[in-house]
Symmetry: C2
Amino acid sequence: MTGHATIAESLREEGYRLTPQRMMILAIIYDSEGHLSAEEIHQRVRQQYPFVDISTVYRTLNLLKKLRFITETDLGDECVRYELVDKGRHHHLICRQCGASFALEHELLAPLAPRLLEKYGFAADLDHFAIFGLCQQCRPEGPALAAKKGQQHGDA
Amino acid sequence: MTGHATIAESLREEGYRLTPQRMMILAIIYDSEGHLSAEEIHQRVRQQYPFVDISTVYRTLNLLKKLRFITETDLGDECVRYELVDKGRHHHLICRQCGASFALEHELLAPLAPRLLEKYGFAADLDHFAIFGLCQQCRPEGPALAAKKGQQHGDA
DNA sequence: GAGGTAATTGCAACTTCTTGCACAAATGAC
DNA sequence: GTCATTTGTGCAAGAAGTTGCAATTACCTC
Ligand SMILES: [Mn+2]
Ligand SMILES: [Mn+2]
Ligand SMILES: [Zn+2]
Ligand SMILES: [Zn+2]
């Protein structure tokens, strides 16, 4: 059984209906390599089935998010992006200055979960974080501490 | 010098102009106890100065966010909320089931920063996180259930 | 204080995402 | 397959947040 069929089965077991729209959206998320926007998903769906509305895409994504099959993350882009939880837990470090993005392995965040559980009785999801900050290049005390103080307003 | 005057001074030193709109927004953020929405700020500004546009509020909030005087956080509410960084660093645990919110002291997240710096050369902001998950009441193995069973096990 | 200049504002249009509602269709029972 | 139930969809309107632009104004120099 392929990945998206497994999720589809879970959906049905939970009492949700398996519509062509949902199946297409699931297949698209499965076939792609992570971080799709709703608009990208909508465009791919419409290639097969041109009358699907963007609101259906959003409703499906919100359903899959609620059931924790996908994550919804603001990666500092202009829109929120969606990714399968199932393809390996990981996070992202994103430079607020240059926009560079680095994968953060889950192992560094993982110890947090038992601590939150012990101290607060809280079972944290820790599915897919975007942590903002300054990358090595952009840090004031960075490696190439050469160029400095050239900052202006209104940069992109 | 009061708090918002200190930030105002910093703004001017960075070359930004001190408009009445900016001063009012700063004062409102300073006078309130955290987690204001843009709409709330807008309403309070208009009580003093009725022609201020909501876009000016957003532009000011984005400026203060860029300069790291305030944080912008999605607390699971219907809109994003803003809070002063300066009033003590902290985070929030939010139950995705019942919506309950618990303060998380910064000390639990703080050890992450040096690890990210060491391993990735990344200086993470770690200013104000909202961590979603299940609270003690909503967990499948919550305290009530454990009490019924007469069990108590520290999970780690 | 007046004048020049560039940042900032208000407005309107726009983007992203959500929601109410009538109709369509997935599902289960027969 | 048909029927009944009840969920899901498309559409249009709405809410939250952004942006282009012309007019205003903060701030610097005199
Ligand atoms: Mn990812
Ligand atoms: Mn807070
Ligand atoms: Zn960078
Ligand atoms: Zn809860």
